[in-house]
Symmetry: C2
Subunit: 245 residues, 2 copies
Amino acid sequence: MNRRHELYYWPHIPGRGEYVRLALEAGGAEYVDVARLPEAEGGGRTAVQRMMEKSARGRAPFAPPILKSGRLVICQTANILQYLGPRLALVPNAAADRLWAHQLQLLVADLVVEAHDTHHPIAKSLYYEDQKAESLRRAENFRTLRLPKFLGYFERVLRENPAGDGALVGGTLSYVDLSVWHTVAGLEYAFPRAMARLLGAHPKLAALSRHVPGHPRLAAYLASSRRLPFNQHGLFRHYPELDDE
Amino acid sequence: MNRRHELYYWPHIPGRGEYVRLALEAGGAEYVDVARLPEAEGGGRTAVQRMMEKSARGRAPFAPPILKSGRLVICQTANILQYLGPRLALVPNAAADRLWAHQLQLLVADLVVEAHDTHHPIAKSLYYEDQKAESLRRAENFRTLRLPKFLGYFERVLRENPAGDGALVGGTLSYVDLSVWHTVAGLEYAFPRAMARLLGAHPKLAALSRHVPGHPRLAAYLASSRRLPFNQHGLFRHYPELDDE
């Protein structure tokens, strides 16, 4: 796989772009994280905005992340990962396994929306402070009902995986493992108290989250400046009042 | 395509199952809508619950709709449609076109979540009446910012489609047209005043929504008792106070 990929995503947050970046890094892809380049070299936020305005043969993006791969321009995180998976050996070969991996990835996407909406339950266009009362209600429901349901499901998938509980799909690292691990990490950043309690009750998911970042290429990436830390502008945000009492 | 499909979805609402049903119907598939059978014949809500508890080779569903196709059990609406599309001639053949169709379908899924959350902005587990104040705020943002953004995007896709503005992907009916049309219909049920105003400003989307239900197999389905009407338990609900003033 030598075809060069270009990732377009906002340079100041991990956000949804990080799910794509993790696959590119763990898969050893040659890629350019365009918006992380200096503005003078065609990078910065304007690089993303430029791609958003472009319409490749009538096919405009709706939102980043955007992957440019040769002549293809692909959007929607799960769609990009489904495309990259086989090319980076991050998903098994069988069609049934790929459908299953994509199904799990779409569930990660659902979880990510719900995690985001704990701090933005009313509107993306308003500040957290302008929807804090609603956030308190939504976050409580998320911590006590939704989050246990999602984590319990991933725990079950690991437990019932016929190839062993070290991976979610098949017996080796897939893009789904990367995404689930990163989501758990984001949730631990946002809800440290709730997640400490919940991960204790989900030992296989906790084990996955410990071993995934040890993957050699991933460990090198995580130690580099290419890895952006979670922060208060992204999908996962730490507001102590939204975490366990 | 003679392989028999089984759809498992709650029998009392169109919900997300309807997106799958529309593809099966318009594609002329032989299928059984299992939960719509009488309980005595293995139907009803218990048929869905039974499928939810099953784990086919360690692969449990998280939520319906569930499509059983031969030995495959597939979940997540967009994943099911991506699987059915080529089998029912509801998507072009080229890989790039299929990626594009799936990308649009994932955007429909995003819009559907936002439409649902106008009446459930805090918790799926609470009644509308227990989150009405928050719904009023979220619905206003949805009608004035989010909905115009989504509709404007689909209008642009139709306008820029090199194969013509009669379809979203390529020149003939695809599962994406079915999904976008049905979503527009659901939004018209939920927000009749806002949608009357908005569709006037999106003529190509309005035209698509008029001609899709004229497709012969689809028209026959829509006239049948298999088509469930929108109602106050589904994704799209009509609460007049959430619509335009």
